[in-house]
């Protein structure tokens, strides 16, 4: 019962998040960096949420210390990659040029790679089905945000 409610809430969260990608308000003028910025912010917020859930599962014994340690390292890598990506969006926004854009695309590749690693080596190996389900649901939000960045055309 508890798991169903949590899962339902988090799935609705994913739906709502997907809606947020489609609503590009708050400027009036189309900003080519806005969608990437929003998606990078969504990834940041999702990593933050996942960190809190991981901490909660770890301290309540639903995640082994070894598994939590692995997740912590992978989340830190993904967080660092998103940080570099956000910094590069700022640079590109201030001074759009091909070199800065190429670096941004390279950093997006790093973000994607760390997220794949987070899923494959951090979430999928978790034995506890309930813990895995909670983390996977939040991870789906990250995947959606990552897909938005890929689709906005910054790296075409």
């Amino acid at each position: 019962m508890k798991s169903k409610a949590v899962l339902t809430g988090l799935l609705l969260l994913l739906v709502f998040t997907s809606f947020s990608f489609k609503c590009d308000s708050g400027g009036g003028v189309t900003d080519p960096y806005r969608k990437a910025a929003k998606a990078a912010d969504d990834i940041a917020a999702s990593l933050n949420t996942m960190t809190k859930i991981k901490r909660d599962l770890g301290t309540s014994g639903k995640l082994s210390p070894d598994r939590e340690r692995a997740l912590t390292d992978l989340l830190l890598k993904a967080n660092t990659a998103d940080k570099a990506f956000v910094a590069q969006i700022k640079k590109l926004k201030a001074d759009p040029n091909p070199a800065t854009k190429a670096t941004l695309c390279s950093l997006f590749g790093t973000v994607s790679s760390t997220l794949t690693d987070l899923n494959n080596n951090g979430i999928l190996p978790i034995d506890n089905a309930d813990s895995k389900s909670k983390l996977t649901t939040v991870f789906n939000t990250i995947t959606a945000a990552s897909g938005i960045i890929a689709s906005v055309g910054l790296c075409n």
């Binding site: 709502f16 929003k38 912010d41 989340l75 830190l76």
Partner: protein
């Protein structure tokens, strides 16, 4: 979208009371609610403000993860 958000927000407080004393579920619901608030607050913000928010969130997450690394012994 407001209706969807209201529905989502109304579900979050239900998670804890379903199982008395289920602290972990309550914590997770709170974390999910915080994520909703964060996404909701993007509306009406400039791109620069969104990027500044992302920076602040990433800094907070980094701090938590470094604390966790210490707790877990490296």
């Amino acid at each position: 979208m407001d209706n969807l958000l209201n529905l989502l927000q109304s579900l979050i407080p239900l998670v804890g009371p379903l199982v008395p004393g289920a602290a972990p579920a309550t914590e997770i619901a709170a974390a999910a609610a915080a994520l909703i608030r964060h996404i909701q607050q993007q509306t009406g913000k400039t791109t620069d403000q969104i990027l500044a928010d992302a920076d602040a969130t990433l800094d907070e997450t980094e701090k938590m993860l470094l604390e966790d690394k210490i707790r877990l012994g490296g």
